[in-house]
């Protein structure tokens, strides 16, 4: 497989995953805007922007943070490199280059999404359309992921999934980090409305709101939620799940075992730690510090992959 092909496959799933994350974040913001607006969480759109890593870009363009503008910036704006529109555009132009390396179904899933978002962009949408837009995005991404099941289980497949889980690991960790600041001073027990709201934002944005209820009994505590999102390997967006899948698809690569080993060695400690660690000791160590380390590690694995395989 061409190095460039591997690289493009890797980025296609990163972009598709990112499109979904943005759509979920918008969905959360939209939901929050429907609730009464006392002090404390009226600036939800700001944390949506922060979680999307788009706050600087947004502020360069607009002076005030308001719903319509945030929606537009995160969904359609061509100036925002991570807008849903740009993600789909990029995924599609990468797919155009490597359509020979995946199935016609995967190409169609991406290209149809691209055709439709062009039309959506030209329609003037209003704020109440947002749930449809986000639902549509998630559907399209699911269609794409579903199409991958018809792929040959070769290195191309593994690079697609490496991209998916590197992106997801990064997105999940950043979300945790953003919300971490809001929640840090609060007591362990979560009872107040605001707390509930904050945690539900986190869970919803990771598409884990209902799953959490099924996975844990009893009271909602910040420790349980942290455990769920960091260590629980049943949760498909937890840091632990992402890491394990990165390792799995890395080890499934048939090309260059030395390169695979080199990257794995960089990742090994974190992988072992995340499987053995208890959430209490992570919280004692500092959740923020842990998440920061995690983000740095993922970013170094990402550059390892790019350096070893794509150059």
């Amino acid at each position: 497989m061409l190095s460039r092909t591997a690289e493009y496959l890797y980025w296609i799933s990163r972009y598709m995953e990112r499109a979904e994350t943005n759509a979920r974040l918008l969905d959360v913001g939209y939901r929050m805007s429907l609730f009464p607006n006392p002090n404390g969480y009226n600036n939800e759109w700001e944390s949506v922007l922060a979680a999307a890593g788009a706050i600087q870009g947004y502020k360069n363009k607009y002076n005030i943070i308001e719903q319509k503008k945030v929606e537009d910036y995160l969904f359609f704006d061509e100036d925002n490199p991570s807008s849903v529109y740009n993600c789909i555009l990029n995924a599609r132009s990468n797919a155009l280059v490597v359509r020979t390396s995946f199935t016609p179904e995967s190409w169609l899933a991406i290209n149809k999404t691209y055709q439709e978002i062009q039309k959506l962009k030209n329609n003037n949408f209003n704020a109440s359309d947002l749930p449809n837009l986000t639902e549509w995005t998630i559907e399209q991404v699911n269609l794409f992921r579903g199409s991958l099941s018809s792929l040959l289980r070769n290195d191309g497949y593994n690079f697609l999934y490496l991209g998916l889980f590197v992106e997801r690991a990064d997105n999940s960790a950043r979300l945790l980090d953003v919300k971490y600041f809001v929640l840090l001073p609060k007591p362990q027990y979560i009872g107040g409305n605001i707390d509930n709201m904050q945690w539900s934002i986190l869970l919803r944005s990771l598409s884990s709101f209902r799953a959490f209820r099924w996975a844990y009994d009893g009271d909602v505590t910040s420790t349980k939620i942290a455990d769920f999102l960091v260590l629980n390997s049943d949760c498909p967006r937890s840091l632990s799940f992402c890491i394990q899948n990165i390792v799995k698809h890395l080890k499934n690569l048939t090309c260059s075992p030395e390169k695979v080993n080199k990257i794995y060695n960089n990742l090994k400690d974190l992988n072992i730690k995340i499987q053995e660690e208890k959430i209490e000791s992570i919280v004692d160590f500092g959740l923020h510090e842990f998440v920061t380390q995690f983000i740095n590690k993922i970013s170094s694995v990402d550059s390892d992959i790019q350096r070893e395989f794509f150059n």
Partner: protein
């Protein structure tokens, strides 16, 4: 004027009877539905092109539902004629890059060849495998009468359009399966396999495997034929590479893969000579593979088409193709050339200036139907503009009579109307010389228009060759 479907106003040609019945049964509603289906299909598979204009919006070429049909015997004649021409053009290239017999025989003046930019000096004295310089030749033909075809131009570098030929057939089979039950249409879907066989049969001398590694070299997604590049490499199951994926080490060319370097034997390049090798051609080019020409000349890799093959489809060389056929093959040309006046000759120039309003004037280096004058269809002021251009730079132009391109029935706003068509079949030259069993029919969608180029409102049709 010749109509492909109607022998006379009331008489349908035999081989169009089925199509005529089918057309009569088809309601406006069905036509609309099928047109929309075809458009959606083309957008979904991504068979789009971008024109040179700044607006990079992807466009699709209008597709006409009515196929253009050739009988077996009509096609057999074309087949012989095109293959004959392709052989002569390759023989010409082998000659002018080696002994130059045709120049010594005073058939073609040497200035005409050696002064051309498309003549590649670095190819002198080198013969590619099987002496084939141009393995894929697209010949643009028009029909003016039942048994009368003219060659408008030869495309010896990297002719495009074959993906349209194949996709047009796919969509027709999908939308109108019954048509293919009632008509015996020769399949064309083996073209990519034949293309791959052709490329593999042109492995370089240092290649010691029976399965040479072929790649398709594309300039990248911004190229207007990019869809075709990815389509062909997909159909052939070969890598589509950009020049940054390739590098030279020692005597060979390699591509960068996740496994490390992998040797490449044959490069089907869809980029221009200028961008092949910055060490040899354009030192300012940021794209290209440094050193590939050295590997090529020492038999480590084959480049298809060969650098410098473009001289054979130069508009000034075109005039001599019938002579080439006689000289190299000892045969009479089966397909005719269009009478051509080259304005760098004084007599020709004077004739052209005196008859501008009857002639078609083309730029020697032009393409895409741009920068040409269609005298009988043009305003006085445009004719005068060309008169000035010709006087200033006569070398830059040729002139031809306006040919009466045949009409093919075409759906215009759900009505069947006659529109002018041309044809580009694709000839493969490898171990065997063979013609695609069909080609790309382009149609001038505007009433009375002679210009079939997609950049100027041209459409395409499926092209059928009926089995014997």
């Amino acid at each position: 004027m010749f109509n492909e479907m109607y022998q006379s106003e009331s008489l349908i040609r035999n081989h169009y009877n089925n199509i005529n019945e089918w057309l009569e049964k088809m309601s406006a509603k069905v036509i609309n539905e099928k047109n929309a289906e075809a458009e959606t299909h083309f957008r979904n598979i991504g068979i789009t092109f971008s024109t040179n204009s700044e607006t990079a919006r992807e466009r699709i070429i209008p597709f006409d539902l009515i196929p253009r049909i050739f009988t077996f015997s009509e096609w057999s004649k074309l087949e012989k004629g095109v293959i004959q021409r392709a052989k002569a053009l390759n023989a010409f290239l082998a000659d002018i890059y080696n002994q130059g017999e045709i120049i010594k025989a005073n058939i073609i003046p040497k200035e005409l060849i050696f002064k051309k930019k498309s003549y590649e000096v670095s190819m002198f004295g080198f013969k590619p495998p099987r002496s084939i310089y141009s393995p894929i030749i697209g010949i643009d033909l028009v029909r003016t009468n039942h048994n009368e075809y003219f060659v408008l131009e030869d495309n010896c570098r990297t002719p495009s359009g074959v993906s349209y030929m194949l996709e047009n057939r796919e969509i027709m089979m999908r939308m109108f399966p019954d048509l293919f039950h009632t008509n015996r249409v020769t399949p064309i879907d083996d073209y990519p396999t034949r293309l791959l066989q052709t490329l593999m049969s042109l492995a370089p001398i240092k290649c010691n495997t029976s399965e040479p590694v072929c790649v398709l070299l594309t300039p990248g997604p911004l190229n207007s034929a990019y869809y075709e590049h990815s389509f062909l490499s997909d159909q052939m199951g070969i890598e589509m590479v950009e020049s940054t994926d390739l590098f030279v080490e020692g005597e060979f060319l390699y591509m960068k893969t996740v496994d490390g370097p992998k040797k490449v034997d044959v490069v089907y390049r869809r980029i221009d000579d200028d961008f092949l090798d910055p060490l040899c051609f354009n030192p300012n080019s940021v794209i290209g593979i440094p050193g590939i020409m050295d590997v090529y000349r020492t038999g480590g890799v084959n480049i298809c088409s060969a650098p410098g093959a473009g001289i054979a489809d130069d508009k000034a060389i075109y005039i001599y193709v019938p002579e080439m056929i006689k000289f190299y093959l000892g045969e009479q040309p089966i397909l005719q050339n269009v009478q051509t006046w080259s304005c760098d000759k004084d007599d020709d120039l004077n004739y052209v200036l005196d008859n501008l309003s009857d002639l078609v004037v083309k730029e020697v280096d032009g393409s895409g139907g741009y920068g040409m004058l269609i005298g009988p269809k043009s305003s006085k002021s445009l004719i005068e503009e060309f008169r000035r251009k010709l006087s200033i730079n006569p070398r830059g132009y040729i002139a031809q009579p306006l040919l009466d391109l045949s009409f093919s029935p075409t759906l215009i706003k759900n009505q069947v109307e006659g529109r002018r068509v041309d044809l580009r079949p694709f000839c493969l030259m490898g171990e065997h010389a063979q013609l695609s069993s069909g080609g790309l029919t382009r149609v001038a969608m505007n009433e009375g228009s002679f210009v079939v180029n997609s950049s100027q409102g041209g459409g395409v049709k499926d092209t059928w060759v009926l089995a014997e």
